[in-house]
Symmetry: C2
Subunit: 445 residues, 2 copies
């Protein structure tokens, strides 16, 4: 490929033929039309599209998987990556995270989200479910980066009616703004933060607003034991029942963490068609002391998905790492080496995530948008290739990803991402300036 | 760098100047002499060595760390990577692992170990502690690959005096063979497998042999609860006390896993100067149901190190992943978010590991062998760079490693490893042939 071709392949509306790539143990070709849709997939597809495609990507030596869907993160918190770790939660929040967040600007959120998108593109994630502030700027970053996102403003009213009004307006404004964008890769969701930060009235308003607007709901649920005991004390119900009473549990709702659910709550989530997001690395790092009850949720038929959480509490957005950590943590905590096998971990990270966010992605089939990730098989981590799914979950990291397409557009080709240096510099600059503004010192490393 | 220079830099006995690299928050130059030793390290070193060095590596945009030391693995088990996962231990061993291992040849061990070395070089590990069979072939692979290893033959007598004799001879033969090699990168150790597979006489023999030969001892300890209860039943002592009674616990002894140690056993290991190897991913995957008591071992002053275990039960040799998993698992299992902070995880993976194996590596100081790994800072996972140590442990994977030197020799430069394709093909071929010989079918993925 010449330099000129290299530049052109990253542009929109190019038709692309990926030849000889491995999909679920078969060698196939994939034709992506100029609208970004998978036009055909199968053996011999190249015969029909060789002349037609603007570009050909040689898929020999690669496995193609659907782009990962990260169902819970706070993308712009990449700016806080490694700023403070290994602390008790309250000290960490009060002494480190909140003072920094108090100085956060819209421009910071733009660069933090661009950095997050860059990390995701490099590690095979093409869609994410975000909750943070200055979400107009997050939308701009997602648009520029070329990935998909469902964006929610973190609604926190702390039982204060005046604050609630403000949060309702902010939620409405984001939904309106995103509607105006008309970008098929960007959707809004309501983002009531959690049962301990949002009043019942606030929760009800979010549920009603999401229903009217036909958008999703994104909320934290049962992350800590304290959340459960406080909720029972305050509302006479465990958190899932409380959310249900407020109308929040719907098939469009994504509940993040779910560490402390009991069996009845798992059954309730299953009944309501609500999607849990497992965030194993964050839960371990913050010592939540219990792992999401995958087996109960699975029995209840819940659509279980996977998330990384934000970079302040993980500190990586690599979904390969999240999938492995999930598969390991479930086995370890629930003392069952057969729990959460590799194929289920891969489904959590792809098709289940897409379903949870209402996206038409998550599968490599004709007619689906081309969110395609090529993973190198000529790599130590993928050798031998007894079972591709096992290698993807247990052996590979984002380092094995070579090429990433989202909605048919090439975002990374053979590990090259146009504009990467500019994003790294912009984000590093924003992070330094933020720390300086907050008057903090960097400490040692 | 021209192609000719590229080829030459991978040869032995080249002096190398690494300029402008970040080491513990300082920008320094590192001069490596033609004997493979760090001749000087510090700011301005380039002034003295610019003309003298055969090659210059631009370290701008990289952090230099000592090569990782993986203190517990079965390297050749890379051939079984992904062959069988997510099973109950006994089924997994009886139905899958043992039938395959029964057909293993020396040639297989050569290619499996080459593949392991390749994965280690790519992910920043320059030394490992190995236990397996056909260890002459493992030694040949380590020699060819250019890394360091301590190699032990897995001594298993199952209380059978005849088998014991055979195992003693095999252990002696490996030690003699490795002495003959005279390779400063390769050492032998005695490898009594575990208290449940080796008789007290066998353990005593290994202890005595290691003392006479001034070599290390490598053994599994307290991996499962069953090991503890069986040992108490059979020997009237918990495993660590039993090993101590057999003379196995010395400052040259590496005890792997240590999940089920009690407080007194931790104190005993500390007293004896014995080094534990934490293998968090393997313990989680196999559902050992308890995490190594890091806090007790740490209080006892034990030299705690880090391992990946073999690829059948992890399935990756990436020590970045192991360090993160260790830091997460300790916090989670012992319910303390301040336990095993990032700087300690990095020490486990470097200086502590080197000390455990009696290696002069693990630190970047003048006079130490140049086992040096360059990690890209111009990468999403390393942006921003608030604290390099946090990023290394929590955000990076082996994918961020750009360049690896062992004993002063360049093994990977800017992600290029000479002969990589040959190793991948050799190992993939050996793995396929092994499965075919064992008459197993690959199953689905």
């Amino acid at each position: 490929m010449t330099e000129h071709e290299m530049a052109e392949i990253f542009e929109k509306n190019r038709s692309i033929l990926i030849t000889g790539v491995t999909v679920e143990n078969r060698t196939v070709d994939i034709f992506v039309d100029e609208k970004g849709t998978i036009g055909s997939i199968g053996p011999g597809v190249r015969k029909h599209h060789q002349g037609e495609a603007d570009f050909v990507i040689d898929g020999d030596g690669a496995i193609a998987i659907p782009g990962f869907v990260n169902t819970h993160t706070h993308a712009a918190m990449t700016l806080l990556r490694g700023y403070a770790d290994d602390m008790v939660l309250q000290d960490w929040l009060v002494q480190k995270i909140w003072p920094l967040e108090a100085h956060l600007t819209g421009e910071d959120v733009y660069w933090g989200t661009r950095l997050a998108c860059l990390e995701m593109i490099r590690t095979g994630t093409t869609a994410f479910n975000d909750m943070y502030f200055f979400m107009d700027e997050a939308a701009r970053a997602v648009d520029d980066a070329g990935v998909r996102a469902v964006l929610s403003y973190g609604f926190i009213d702390l039982n204060d009616p005046e604050k609630r009004e403000k949060e309702c307006r902010a939620t409405e404004s984001l939904a309106a703004r995103i509607r105006t964008l008309g970008n098929p890769r960007i959707a809004a969701a309501a983002g009531p933060h959690a049962v301990y930060t949002v009043s019942p009235e606030g929760l009800q308003w979010c549920a009603e607003f999401a229903r009217e607007e036909k958008i999703g709901i994104h909320i934290h649920l049962a992350e800590t034991e304290k959340e459960v005991t406080d909720c029972v004390e305050q509302h006479g119900k465990r958190p899932a029942a409380h959310l249900d009473a407020c109308g929040v549990l719907t098939p469009r709702t994504l509940v993040a963490h779910c560490c402390w659910l009991n069996e009845a709550e798992c059954a309730l989530l299953g009944e309501r068609g609500t999607s849990p997001s497992h965030n194993p690395a964050s839960n371990m790092k913050l010592a939540t002391n219990r792992a999401m009850p995958y087996h109960w949720l699975s029995l209840a038929g819940a659509n279980i998905t996977l998330g990384t959480d934000g970079c302040a509490s993980n500190n990586s957005l690599d979904m390969f790492g999240a999938a492995k950590t999930a598969a390991l943590l479930q086995k370890f905590f629930w003392n069952n080496p057969t729990l959460l096998p590799a194929p289920e971990a891969l489904r959590m990270a792809t098709i289940n995530g897409a379903k949870a966010l209402g996206l038409p992605t998550g599968r490599l089939v004709k007619g689906a948008p081309a969110d395609i990730v090529l993973v190198a098989t000529r790599a130590a981590a993928n050798t031998p290739l007894h079972h591709a799914t096992s290698n993807l979950v247990y052996a590979c990291s984002g380092g094995e990803v070579e090429t990433t397409l989202c909605n048919g557009r090439v975002l990374m080709l053979n590990r090259e991402i146009p504009g990467e240096d500019e994003v790294l510099a912009g984000a590093a600059g924003a992070a330094s300036a933020l720390v300086k503004r907050a008057g903090s010192c960097k400490g040692d490393s």
